[in-house]
């Protein structure tokens, strides 16, 4: 596929190579490592909630790790990410900053927002999230407009879900972004369920047609394969950097966990079937058992250190 970025993807700060890999690591191994990192971070958070260590709520992205990791392969300096309530994977794939995020969710002063924002309100250089559905889309478009005004070839990325397509401001913004040819990449993660309501009860008509109505190109994938997603995302970034104009990456995926905490009434058989094709399984087959075991162990050790540091912090 054309446009794929082969260079080592940039991360903000100085993340732990045991969590995000390093430039010498083969790409497949790195992609697996990053997805494993996100998976275990989210599972660790859920465990910490069960232990009563955390305050508030969280929305895990278990099952959707390939979207975050695949898209972030193509981020360049000056690009911007805006994401939603289910944004931990995006932040970790973007920055590798496990301690900053865990500290934030734990309400510690070492958190990326000093513990004020919490799980749904994360901010770092070139990255923001907000937990209110839809309203982040115009803000991402405004950031794209700033990029356009400054003459850069940067891209503003916004992650939304299938449920967000119920919000009117999304369509107001798609219209303006198309009219003004803003360098906006909308990544729509359709995980099949808006909280407890299935897409079939939430969304009339064809999902991709909603974007196409504004003349916006849609790249639609029904996959949990990180390589497919990374390749498609690479094409979208390349087109955006060359020509501007909004584009949509529509990813049909699945959320393997509950919406937030302990709130899952989905059919057990449906969820079980998706565990067989989840991103770590699909991509993990490209690594040897020994490679996977080594990466898993490194991620486990590094995350345990992060948890210990976060617990000890003020």
């Amino acid at each position: 596929m054309g446009g794929r970025t082969e260079s080592y993807p940039r991360l903000v700060g100085d993340p732990d190579p045991r969590l995000v890999g390093d430039p010498t690591e083969p790409r497949n191994n790195r992609l697996y490592r990053r997805m494993r990192f996100i998976r275990r971070f989210e599972e660790t958070l859920l465990d910490l909630f069960s232990d009563g260590v955390l305050n508030g709520t969280t929305h895990a992205c278990i099952g959707q790790e390939a979207d975050a990791v695949g898209v972030m392969e193509h981020i360049q300096p000056g690009d911007h990410i805006f994401t939603n309530h289910r944004g931990h994977g995006h932040y970790l794939a973007y920055s590798g900053d496990a301690l900053g995020l865990l500290g934030e969710v734990m309400g510690k002063s070492i958190g990326v927002c000093g513990g004020i924002g919490g799980s749904q309100h994360i901010c770092g250089p070139g990255f923001k999230s907000n937990g209110v559905q839809g309203g982040i889309v115009p803000a991402a478009a405004g950031i794209a407009m700033a990029m356009q005004l400054s003459g850069s070839s940067n891209v503003s990325v916004v992650f939304i879900g299938d449920g967000t397509l119920g919000e009117g401001v999304v369509y107001e913004t798609l219209n303006m972004a198309a009219l003004w040819r803003l360098p906006l990449l909308v990544v729509c993660e359709d995980n099949g369920w808006a909280q407890s309501t299935p897409v079939s009860a939430n969304l009339a008509g064809d999902m991709s047609a909603r974007f196409k109505a504004f003349g916006i190109p849609v790249r639609e994938l029904d996959t949990t394969d990180v390589l497919e997603i990374a390749d498609a995302a690479g094409d979208e970034f390349a087109a955006l950097r060359a020509n501007g104009g909004p584009r949509v990456l529509l990813l049909h995926t699945y959320r393997l966990c509950h919406h937030s905490k302990n709130d899952d009434n989905r059919p057990e058989a449906e969820v079980a079937a998706r565990w067989l094709v989840e991103p770590l399984v699909v991509h993990g087959k490209r690594l040897t058992d020994e490679e996977r075991a080594r990466i898993d162990a490194e991620v486990e050790t590094a995350l345990a250190e992060v948890v210990a540091k976060a617990r000890a912090a003020e």
């Binding site: 923001k128 907000n130 209110v132 115009p138 405004g142 107001e172």
Partner: protein
């Protein structure tokens, strides 16, 4: 120069001074130049920085939020203040949240300008003064244009700081002439600019020195213009002396000038065109009662419009909205 043109000139000066300033809004480009013509001529001279938008108030304000966080200084025009409701999620859950919830890592200095107010026969959804719903939103400044505050220094002050701001412009101010203090006077009234350090100015107007005034009148926007006329007339015709206090910023309030005046006069009347209850005036009553309990001769009088829809018919509209006769009656009762 009439206030609509003063506002246009002030926006022009801001565009000239600061390349980060952008104007966004519905129908704001030439030849139309905005529903109330405030931006007329600006798109001709700044074609890349003055942009008409689709009819999408939430997205316009949301795009402005992104621009502001990326370092620009967007000024959005919402065609009628009534349409502010469509921006409410952006204002409450996004624009005023970002700086605080991200622990100061970003600022979101969006300025939203909007024509507000009635007395024009536009009816229930094009005549309201909805700013009361924005008072008390944390991290939001609400500023009101008046006939007595020059808009340019106000806009410059807002552009020089990082809080988002709602700037309301009563429609009936547009054709009026701006009269700022000169030699300590505005017309027949003594005029003095007060205010705490760093705060936008509050003007104190009275026919006689404060020590001879027996009531303080607190008002903003067009109602402040009406109140100035009423206290002038009452002083000349009936020797009833009131001090009119006109803040440029109505939330958060710089209470010091109000408290100083009320401490001297012993009575307060508040005037606002928005509908009665849960309002600017009731907040003033709460603050003044707390701060000056025992020094008030009488309870604070809150004058506001009847809490119902604004009728289109002229006589019904003028019966429902606060006007000169309400101000006259309240000031007389309080002296």
């Amino acid at each position: 120069m009439i206030i609509a043109k003063e506002l246009g000139a002030a926006l022009r000066a801001c565009l000239t001074d600061d390349p980060r300033v952008l104007l966004l809004g519905e129908d704001i480009v030439d030849p139309y130049g905005g529903a109330f013509k405030v931006t007329r001529g600006l798109s001709t001279d700044f074609p890349d920085r003055v942009r008409s938008t689709p009819i999408s108030e939430a997205a316009i304000v949301g795009v402005a939020a992104g621009l502001a966080m990326a370092g620009y200084r967007p000024i959005v025009e919402i065609m009628f203040g009534d349409f502010l409701t469509l921006t409410f999620d952006q204002v409450v859950n996004h624009i005023t949240k970002y700086q605080a919830m991200y622990n100061g890592q970003v600022a979101c200095p969006v300025i939203i300008r909007t024509p507000s107010g009635g007395h024009r026969g536009y009816g229930p959804t094009h005549s309201q003064s909805l700013e009361k719903h924005f008072l008390g939103v944390p991290h939001l400044r609400v500023v009101a244009a008046s006939a007595f505050h020059h808009p340019l220094p106000i806009l410059r002050a807002l552009l020089a700081q990082d809080d988002p701001c709602l700037y309301v412009e009563h429609k009936l101010l547009y054709p009026e002439h701006l009269t700022t203090p000169a030699d300590g006077r505005i017309g027949d009234l003594l005029a003095r600019s007060e205010g705490s350090p760093g705060a936008l100015p509050t003007l104190c107007l009275s026919a006689v020195p404060r020590s001879r005034c027996t009531v303080t009148v607190l008002a903003y926007g067009y109602q402040a213009l009406l109140a100035a006329r009423e206290i002038t007339r009452l002083a000349l015709e009936e020797e009833i002396f009131a001090e009119l206090v006109v803040p440029a910023q109505i939330a958060p309030m710089d209470w010091a000038p109000v408290l100083e005046s009320v401490a001297a006069t012993g009575a307060l009347v508040t005037i606002e065109e928005g509908v009665a209850g849960w309002s600017w005036g009731t907040e003033a009553a709460a603050v003044v009662s707390w701060e000056l309990f025992g020094r008030l001769r009488r309870p604070v009088e809150v004058v506001a419009s009847e809490p119902t829809v604004i009728p289109s018919a002229r006589d019904k509209e003028s019966a429902m909205l606060v006007g000169a006769r309400h101000i006259d009656a309240a000031v007389r009762a309080a002296t």
